[in-house]
């Protein structure tokens, strides 16, 4: 059985989510995506704000899964942590499993969720022409992500 690459699936998920929510500009409305997930994902995604930890996707005994996020984190860090937790939730959906998203948890989950979070929150189709030459601080502010994430994205693009 052939398996699509994780990068391709992240591209596809980000494109579909941005289209579903009609997103045309930065920053990507991640909070709204989690509060009002696509109809078939309402049992797999949600958002619950707490006052501890960072962000974690969990499916309680009720069966209604949600991302628990620390509302006291700075906004860029909170958004990035939510996107990474969202990826974990997407991996557990019927569609995610059928497509070949990795089973979770696994040893590569940090790198996998980083890939998805960067693809969604720094979607190239929403960035202005020449974004590759922005300063990390400017790119981070534009996308609403932590500066080290913007630096990593710029480094990846420069190396490709």
């Amino acid at each position: 059985m052939a398996q699509p690459s994780l990068k391709f699936l992240c591209d596809c998920l980000a494109t579909a989510l941005l289209s579903h929510y009609g997103v045309t500009h930065m920053p990507v409305p991640l909070r709204e995506m989690l509060l009002d997930p696509p109809p078939d994902l309402t049992h797999d995604l949600g958002l619950t704000e707490v006052r501890f930890g960072e962000a974690m996707w969990l499916r309680p005994p009720s069966g209604l899964a949600t991302v628990f996020v620390n509302a006291e984190m700075p906004e860029p860090e909170r958004r990035y942590a939510m996107a990474r937790a969202m990826f974990v939730g997407l991996c557990t959906t019927k569609g995610g499993q059928a497509a070949g998203l990795p089973a979770v948890p696994n040893d590569e989950l940090k790198a996998q969720s980083d890939l998805f979070a960067r693809r969604l929150l720094m979607a190239p189709e929403l960035l202005p022409p020449g974004w590759q030459w922005l300063a990390p601080q400017a790119l981070a502010a534009l996308c609403g992500v932590p500066q080290p994430v913007a630096e990593a994205q710029l480094l990846t693009v420069a190396q490709s």
Binding site: M1, A2, Q3, P4, C12, L13, A16, T93, A98, A99
Partner: protein, 100 residues
């Protein structure tokens, strides 16, 4: 559209059970004509020709199709490579040779 449309198609199948089921069970020709995918006729034909037992197989085949399109686009839209050549040792002249 092209690559974005193909990505959107697979992504839609990831987030919609009904769409994914239809794509794999007889409604593919109808679903790939959704205007938001904006697929070209040759892309639609390629999608209809995919034989896949599972959705993962289908997604892998679409990824292959995307890679082919990106490779083709790079060949047709990429920068010209220009090299300087000396016609022969006896000549001081030079000419430009253009490659794609």
């Amino acid at each position: 559209m092209s690559v974005k449309g193909l990505n959107a198609l697979v992504g839609q199948a990831c987030i919609s059970d009904l769409f994914r089921t239809g794509l794999m069970n007889g409604r593919r020709a109808e679903l790939i004509r959704w205007p938001e995918f904006d697929l070209e006729p040759d892309e639609a034909r390629a999608l209809l020709a995919i034989k896949a037992d599972t959705f993962a197989d289908f997604a892998a085949a679409v990824e292959h199709l995307v890679a082919q399109r990106e490779s083709h686009a790079a060949r047709t839209e990429g920068p010209f490579v220009v090299s300087l050549r000396w016609p022969n040792p006896a000549s001081m002249g030079a000419y430009l040779s253009q490659h794609r």
